[in-house]
Assembly symmetry: C2
């Protein structure tokens, strides 16, 4: 956060100087921030590395992902279901209070309290359920993400298990871990229709943490600070931001975001609770370079690969659209089963257009399919064919 | 680098607006950058996270190191023996040419050529030989580093071995790997007196890489871009910046920086080639928080630890100045034998002043000594006692 606050400070300085300058030349002061195309709450992000889909959806550029071991916070994607709360809530982070329910001794606990219990650091992929949506042939509503609604993030916080234990353990009949976000619900709107509240199976608790730090800095507001529920291996939506309530529950949240949204179903079918929920991520990879052009001769083809909830076994790369494959090399240390691994293959590319594809296989034996089936909301696309890139070599 | 360039761009904008504003209020335009205390070539660093010792020596603040798995580029320390070259040299990175000597087929190779050979990513501690110098009791010349002339960095580049192989392998009689830096030598100055040229034993070649990327971005000029020799496990000085020549040599470089500088010897004794050179780093750790005050009750004590050239076995923490010790917990994945590991211990601290110390032990069996012997230049200090911090709990 120090870095981020400092960039913010610089941004503020730009604003101030801009105001002075604007006043001096008779320009309206409102024009002071026109050099920054980013929404205010993420003004500290690197505008050159992201695509702004909307105020609440920013995508990391494919080229920027490169062969990064960790995604810098300044380029990590943003997908908020509701506007972020006021930054008042990160003014005193340790005072942020969370209601804990469905335990032997229900009550509240502050972030400060949690810091006295236990601490753990985990590296995992944060990825939106709709990452890859843009690659489906059928029409889908929702942000048309390519590959950039994903990043590899270092989280530090308290294991959920330690919090539950401190409250006397799980109450009888608990089947789900339910987290509720602290976004403001406008008056008059039934909270079930928009409130971010997700339930995940109890088994997810084994690895879940409540994170107060991201990439070694206090968790930025835009990413859910002061406290975020992080479920390694699970899609982004389950990682509830501004966590204000954590409960072990018998059933799933009654809210729309749990009952009918984030459900995988055939095209044209409405969401309902009988359909699979977007929980565990699947094995996936994509090329991050080259993306358009390359010179003839030896070229570094690189990308990133993830096992979903399993360690990776291998990544194969094809330069002929999937007719033949060769194993790529992983780059750098293995950061665990929930993290991604950059990969590289150095190969000769002759003149002409080549379709570069990658296909990851996890240690649990699962591989990326050639094509992932179309589904109503365009979730979970890990088909290798549509993730391929055409590169012209001259 | 995208991030860095963008911050630069913002900084430039501050400058422009500042000039406008200054002109408007009749201030001299030269004052435009007064909000940034950093030298120009590192103006993209986070001023809040570093201590500026001089134009060529910036230290990371102890508190900023926190429990970071990787040190962000914006807070990594700077120690340059000579002023950095003009940034013209990073305008076309792939064209940067390196002379390769002491091989069967001597010649030149560009960074672009190297990228076609092989690629590897390694995480390792970058640490100045004089880190910890400020903690010696005796007077020492040189920058008075505390703990912040160190960081944990992700490097990507080509293994030195692959380059040597591509040039036909080592010539007869090679005993050292010698790297020469591309800093400009002012006319009239004998180059042996100031040129950065270091020789390391051939064994170091097993892990050495020529790095073009740092923390997932093109290597910044301030850290040696376009190409830096990185010798994992070796002190910073051996990691030659702006590498312009790489040679396998029979003897060590005749330059002062090799012959008499960076030699460990008793206080009052002059440097000479018979004394040990600052090569391999040793096992070390230090507390990064709390540093001054804490509240009574349970407190998170955290820090970073490194094994030198070995994996870490354990880190112990003492809250009573070394009378008793308890094992701390490592945080996050192990990034390899040359990387540091953040650690944490949650413990009760009663009212009063406590001396918090940490002591690392590597898998090779070596531990930090209580006191590291004084030496003329204040090199290699890894004594646990002087790295301890006094914290007042109320």
């Amino acid at each position: 956060m120090k870095m981020i606050e400092n960039v913010k400070r610089r941004h503020f300085l730009i604003g101030s100087a801009g105001t002075m300058a604007a006043a001096a030349v008779g320009m309206p002061a409102g024009a002071q921030d026109s050099d920054n195309p980013l929404p205010d709450y993420v003004s500290w992000k690197d505008a050159e590395d992201v695509i702004v889909h909307s105020k609440q959806t920013l995508e990391t550029k494919r080229a920027a992902q490169g062969s990064e071991l960790i995604t810098p916070s300044t380029e990590l994607y943003i997908r908020n279901n509701l506007p972020a709360p006021s930054d008042d809530i990160v003014a005193n982070r340790d005072a942020w209070e969370i209601e804990i329910d469905g335990v032997a001794n229900p009550g509240t606990m502050t972030v400060g309290d949690m810091k006295t219990l236990a601490v753990e650091t985990v590296v995992c992929v944060l990825q939106c359920s709709g990452n890859g949506r843009a690659f489906f042939d059928h029409e889908t509503s929702g942000t048309q993400w390519s590959v950039g609604a994903a990043g590899n993030v270092v989280w530090t916080g308290v294991p959920v298990r330690a919090v539950i234990d401190a409250m006397g353990g799980a109450a009888e009949g608990a089947n789900f871990l339910t987290g509720t976000g602290g976004e403001e619900i406008p008056e008059g709107v039934p909270k079930e229709t928009i409130q971010v509240e997700r339930s995940v199976p109890m088994a997810a608790m084994d690895h879940a943490i409540l994170a107060w730090e991201m990439n070694g800095e206090p968790l930025p507001l835009a990413h859910g600070g002061p406290l975020r529920l992080v479920i390694p291996g699970y899609y982004g939506v389950n990682n509830v931001k501004y966590l204000k309530r954590l409960a072990l529950t018998e059933g799933e949240s009654p809210n729309k975001i749990q009952q009918t949204s984030y459900r995988v179903r055939p095209v044209g079918v409405k969401g309902d609770p009988s359909q699979p929920s977007m929980y565990e991520m699947s094995v996936k990879s994509w090329i991050t370079g080259p993306l358009m052009d390359a010179a003839t001769g030896k070229v570094q083809i690189h990308g990133v690969a993830m096992g979903g909830v399993s360690d990776l076994e291998k990544v194969e790369v094809s330069i002929d659209g999937g007719q033949s494959w060769a194993e790529a090399q992983f780059l750098g240390p293995d950061l665990g089963p929930y993290a991604w691994r950059p990969f590289v293959m150095i190969t000769d590319l002759a003149e002409g257009t080549h379709t570069l594809a990658s296909r990851a296989t996890a240690k649990d034996g699962l591989s990326q399919p050639e094509t992932f089936p179309p589904n109503e909301r365009g979730y979970g696309n890990n088909g290798w064919r549509v993730h391929a890139v055409d590169v012209t070599v001259s």
